[in-house]
């Protein structure tokens, strides 16, 4: 790529870089095998990146001994129009297809119920918890705010009517980003393959894919994610293309833009990590090439390395952190997500019972308390009437850790040897709990004592089981626990919220802890609580007192330790990761499998089920998707044949060499993108949905553009003159017509179907239910 030699005069970005019009008739055509391929794509063997610029100047050389005149349909237009016109048409079509019937249906569709709701939370500044990073939802909230939505719509369940609420702003924002995908893909393919028709093919696939249209029309994270993802790919390709002029303004611009887009992509969903990986691999390859170039000094290499570290690692990290800073600054009111976070975290939230809290400062006997585990996303110590099932330790009452606030989290702290009545007697004096005291914890609702014994814990077999035992607070000596504060001397009082306490089982010497493992169905999928015999100072075994109710003690306002920003950042990530891994499919539940996706096996119902409903069904345009699928096989075949041929030392003509370079290098990059966005799903344990495939589908569509363009040019190379002039244009035309016609057939999937189901011959979709698994 850097062979391109002499630096060119800097030209304004724009017209000249797309000057495909200049391609026809290369300078090197010295009467040998002059082919269409040579003319339409890569007339020159050498330059591929900055090469386009040079072609313009070489144009006068074209012409004299052309065996076949160039067919008109692919013959590029005059330079300025030829650049802008296709891009403009593509963009226009894209926006038209995405914004058409945007307001239909006027009710909540599918996951709008989540993301619309979360947008509202931002407008209302209410704290919530979600497994995805905040950027996408913040943008939705912002779009809603700017378009006059006031955040009052509850988004309770799919199918709720919006009535007077302004939802178009949010949908329009998503549709806008979704529409940008098409020009992005167009420019990416154009930059990679330098072929207008490849770019047009890729763009038309995306324009006319019903799946992409549907996914862009609602308040979802996917259009936002894909926008940043494609933005990152486009800017990566662009900065690769100016590798011949490193450290120029354009180079810096695209490099920085790549970093910004990467930050955007991971800021919307963690799936964005795959595109980070793609850019990372590309950069490593790039640096490896630079390292092998002995004409570069080590200092220059260092500069290259530093530039990339700065733009592709530090910049995205900084932006990503900023998103979270904004997220925490905006959401300052207590809301539904509080329980997932530590006491310290909650104290930041206005309206939380820990905000500007006033509780009795020191722990006393007879107090009603809740205890929160100190591990990240640790729960409250919890118990309920249900027993451990048969075969899981002793059949006694379950003790778990629970993430939500609940009356079953309340415990009463008692002396180990005294009776319940003592502390309730208002006349008796208050006695404080001190470090090293032996206590008993009684569960308030069920009046059972926190108990442990030498039975295996349900999940962590090396630990002991923790149960609720006894009746009305009368148990046995296995209910005794020694309370200790970390880093404190004996006899000191215990502070609410601030003391990190440890409960040591007196009889066995084990420590009460939460293993972080989720119990099966019998335990209501709450978190396991065990007694660990290994004495380690991990946060798993540490607790703090959160609520503290004791009418006999005066409440004092506590200025609780406010957590620092890095702490809450780390904590919210731990909680997100735990939330993500908790999304496991239930047994006997039909779930979407990754292998379903490329074959378009089954879509998703966005809206409506019955005949009378307004139905929208997320399903890829089957013709396009199956074309994409076939193309992947075709690409692999072509790539294998080409590499083997090159390896075997087959002499290729200059044109073929250029074609195979496009195929292997550019196609390879896109193929890698597809693999990175598809294969990891096979290893994921969480619940998967059809729409997870769409990022991969973008790559697959671009690959289709490049592969068919290359294939047709290969064909042209090997056919006789009379046929060759037709193959390329007619081939492209057929593909385009096929795509447009299939869109005409399937467009009701996106734009709404009313009336009978497809099984009814009267339905407009009759006969189009090609697979039985499609539900329309």
């Amino acid at each position: 790529m850097r062979r391109n030699g002499a630096p060119l005069p800097a030209m304004p970005y724009g017209a000249d870089s797309f000057s495909l019009g200049a391609v026809r008739g290369g300078a090197r055509r010295v009467g040998a095998r002059m082919t269409l391929a040579a003319r339409c794509c890569q007339a020159e063997t050498g330059p591929r990146c900055g090469g386009l610029r040079q072609r313009r100047s070489r144009r006068p050389a074209g012409g004299p001994n052309r065996p076949c005149p160039a067919p008109r349909s692919w013959a590029p237009l005059e330079a300025p129009v030829g650049v802008w016109a296709p891009l403009a048409i593509v963009t226009l079509l894209s926006f038209a297809s995405r914004f058409y019937r945007l307001s239909e249906p006027p009710h909540v569709c599918w996951d709008e119920t989540h993301f619309g709701k979360m947008g509202s939370y931002y407008i209302n500044r209410t704290f919530f918890f979600d497994v995805h990073p905040p950027l996408g939802k913040m943008l939705i909230g912002l779009a809603g705010y700017l378009s006059g939505y006031n955040g009052t719509f509850p988004f309770q369940k799919p199918g709720d009517r919006y009535e007077h609420h302004n939802y178009i702003g949010m949908r329009g924002f998503c549709a806008f980003l979704g529409s940008c995908l098409v020009p992005f893909a167009y420019l990416t393919v154009l930059e990679l393959s330098k072929s207008l028709s490849a770019a047009l093919l890729a763009a038309s696939i995306l324009i006319f894919d019903t799946g992409c249209i549907t996914l862009s029309q609602y308040i979802l994270l996917d259009p936002i994610l894909m926008f940043f993802l494609m933005g990152a790919v486009l800017s990566m390709v662009k900065y690769n293309s100016c590798a011949d002029r490193p450290f120029s303004a354009r180079w810096w611009f695209w490099l920085n833009l790549t970093g910004v887009n990467l930050a955007g992509a991971i800021g919307v969903k963690f799936v964005g990590l795959f595109v980070v990986l793609l850019v990372g691999l590309n950069t490593v390859y790039d640096l490896w090439k630079l390292l092998g170039d002995l004409s570069l000094s080590l200092v220059t290499l260092g500069k290259h390395l530093l530039a990339r570290v700065f733009c592709l690692i530090l910049l995205p990290l900084a932006l990503y952190t900023t998103q979270f800073a904004v997220h925490f600054a905006v959401l300052n009111k207590s809301g539904p997500g509080d329980g997932f976070f530590s006491s310290a975290f909650q104290s930041r939230l206005i309206g939380n019972n820990l905000h500007n809290v006033s509780v009795p400062e020191h722990l006393a006997y007879g107090s009603v308390i809740t205890m929160k585990n100190l591990r990240m996303a640790g729960g409250y110590l919890h118990s309920h009437w249900h027993l451990y099932p048969e075969g899981v330790g002793a059949r006694q009452q379950q003790v778990t850790a629970y993430l939500h606030k609940d009356s079953n989290n309340l415990w009463i702290i008692k002396k180990h040897d005294s009776n319940t009545a003592d502390h309730l007697d208002p006349a008796s004096s208050v006695e404080f709990v001190r470090h090293g005291d032996v206590i008993r914890l009684e569960h308030k609702e069920t009046s059972r004592n926190l108990h442990s014994h030498q039975h295996e814990a349900p999940m962590t077999r090396k630990h002991f089981q923790v149960t609720g035992y006894g009746i009305n607070g009368t148990g046995d000596s296995n209910d005794f626990w020694r309370i200790e504060v970390v880093g404190r001397k004996a006899g000191k009082r215990i502070k609410v919220l601030r003391s990190q306490i440890r409960l040591i089982h007196l009889a066995t010497g084990c420590i009460l802890g939460s293993s972080g493992k989720t119990l099966p169905k019998w335990g209501w999928e709450q978190v396991e609580v065990t007694c660990t015999p290994y004495v380690k100072d991990t946060p798993n075994a540490l607790w703090n007192i959160e609520d503290h109710i004791n009418p006999k003690l005066p409440n004092i306002s506590l200025d609780v330790l406010k957590p620092s920003f890095p702490e809450i950042l780390l904590e919210s990530h731990m909680v997100m990761i735990r939330g993500n891994s908790g999304l496991k499919p239930k047994e006997n539940e039909v779930t979407s499998k990754p292998w379903h996706w490329p074959i378009n096996y089954q879509g998703l119902r966005f809206s409506g089920i019955n005949e009378t409903d307004y139905r929208v069904y997320l399903l890829g345009n089957p013709v396009i998707w199956w074309l994409n699928l076939v193309t992947i096989g075709l690409y692999l075949l072509m790539a294998i044949c080409t590499t083997v041929a090159i390896k075997r030392g087959v002499q290729l003509t200059a044109e073929l060499k250029e074609l195979s370079k496009v195929l292997l290098h550019c196609g390879g990059q896109i193929m890698l993108g597809w693999l990175l966005h598809y294969l990891p799903f096979f290893m994921m344990g969480r619940v998967l949905y059809f729409h997870h495939y769409f990022p991969a589908m973008l790559f697959s569509s671009m690959l289709t553009g490049i592969t068919w363009d290359t294939l047709l040019k290969f064909c042209v190379e090997h056919l006789s003159c009379s046929v060759r002039r037709r193959v390329y244009p007619y081939g492209m035309l057929t593909l385009m017509l096929l795509i447009v016609f299939s869109f005409y057939l399937f467009h009701p999937l996106s734009y709404g179907m009313v009336g009978p189901m497809a099984s009814d011959p009267k339905s407009p979709m009759a006969g189009l239910r090609w697979l039985e698994s499609w539900e329309f």
Partner: protein, 725 residues
Amino acid sequence: MLGFLKQPVVVTAEINLNLVALTVIGLVSRMWALSYPTAVVFDEVYYGQFVSLYMKRIFFVDDSGPPFGHMLLAFGGYLGGFDGNFLWNRIGAEYSMNVPVWSLRLLPALTGALCVPLAYQILVELHFSHCAALGAALLILFENSLITQSRLMLLESVLIFFILLAVLSYLKFYNLQKCSPFTAGWWFWLLLTGVACSCAVGVKYMGLFTYLLLLAIAGVHAWHLIGDQTLSNVSVLGHLLARGIALVVIPVAMYLSFFYIHLTLLYRSGPHDQIMTSAFQASLEGGLARITQGQPLEVAYGSQITLRNVLGKPMPCWLHSHKNTYPIRYENGRGSSHQQQVTCYPFKDVNNWWIVKDPGMQQLVVSNPPRPIRHGHIVQLVHGITTRYLNTHDVAAPLSPHSQEISCYVDYNISMPAQNLWRVEIVNRESDTDVWKTILSEVRFVHVNTSAVLKLSGASLPEWGYRQLEVIGEKLSKGYHQSMLWNVEEHRYGKSQEQKEREVELHSPTQADISKNLSFMARFTELQWKILTLKNEETEHKYSSSPLDWITMDTNIAYWLHPTSGAQIHLIGNVLTWASANVATLVYVCLFLWYLLRRRRKICDIPEDAWWIWVAAGGLCVGGWAVNYIPFFMMEKTLFLYHYLPALTFQILLIPIVLQHLSDHVFRSQLPKNTFSALMVAWFSSIYLVYRTFSPLTYGKPALSAAELRDLRWKDTWDILIRKQ
């Protein structure tokens, strides 16, 4: 005539005494007092039951791996004349006289011992000195964890043996490739690679990763071959074909043959029958075959059938109903239809019988000739004992409120109309006019009024439903799931209209035995699928550990404890070897990266051939370590320290490689040879010392006192059992 006597008869034999000595010591170290302890040790309790089942020819399913490993162990039992009569129920149970302990443990011990000379040869084939090779062999020899694992009836040593054998034969093959391709030796080693790979995969699925590594290495070498333009196209093709056959076709064929032998040997029905489909069960002797033999093939109007859910998760069960009704109100206050319960019941029961009825006719008997039911027909299902109709309606199911309740329609106290028509959809049909067949057809029941699909939800009902499994009508039938499919298991043509028809005897057979229809491939596919998807309920074991604990050996496993004395066997490695192996890996990776970057800048620190030897050795050993270790991070099953042993073996092989490289290229000038040798001797003697120190825990004798045991607890996380006085 006697001319040949003029020349002396000469036999030239070259015997590497190192190798012989190593083999002998290896055998001694692995086989010394092999039948001690005469008690069940750790996982022997698990493998032993399969050996017994092999001896009795009873079919079983084991989700831990393919059958080759079990068969090898069973072969040991066969040689020792084991009759299979032993109750494998508890670790530590004394073996009875009929159990040939020695021969059961012989095969793992032999393979474990042979790993020592294999390690030696691998290093020689990697072009390292005999000194380094000797070092590698000694390190394997004195590795306590490998010894423990070899001396018991366990499969890891067999797996490691086949892995090392595959590696060695590939290396031999590759070294022959340069000088004499397509000779007998070349073919032998090539074929042996394929065979050893398939044996490794056949013993445990972990072997698959080494197989893939070897395939990748072979792929890289083949790629160089393609680039070799001195070879003609034909010979390149020949080379590729030979590799394809030996490394892909033969392993696949061998793998299939393991299953073929497995299924041939085990022809009796046994404890795991229920997991398999009815068709598979019918192919076993006894069990279901006895019941289904001679039952009519085609289901007709008036047929009496039992319906088994095809998925069978969480347990295999049959569609069931009984007199009891759904409670009027559930615990959470939701109402029910208060009609007769329909559940899925995991045991055979007279209440599992249903009669297929033609909605247009009253009779419940099969007409003459029988009218078979085809795909798309509408039927009613009548519960045999209570003669109530299978029904569903727009009432939420007890545990899955998004789905419809399934009930048997009670015709008094009517609050809602009967909706009891079901459309039969045969999913695995070949044409749309297919007949519903016993056992073979998988059927969906689609409710005619609401198009809900009869489905097993997998939840188990509370006390009022006797903890039976919930059956629901799935309204949003998203695609096909096996929980919605049912097949007829037991079937007879109903003869009597009377309510006593339950006692009607079976008809004479109308069709040939169904078991003959099931080919080997069908049985293989099903068994393979079940092995891969079967999930054990066991979530965590007392001695299970996470992969991160393994590198530093922060965990151990207590295998056995003498009932009275303190003698015990532990899986615990040679700490020094493990630490050295980690250091060697780290040094290798750092040096490799350093060389690689410098070479890119055209600076060569070591000669070209040394570099390629270095790359090949590292690719094999570090690669082997990585592929045998990293996948565990992605596995969700219960993991134990012994899963690390194959990876460890590769890591140990790396130690002498790094040492020789350091002495040849890095410390050549700085360090005098003598100092280096002295260091080596000191290091090896300490490894031997550590081996000696822990050998009581490895061999289980002599018994140690509590104080001695406490001294052996070098890490706090180790679980060494100390008897309380």
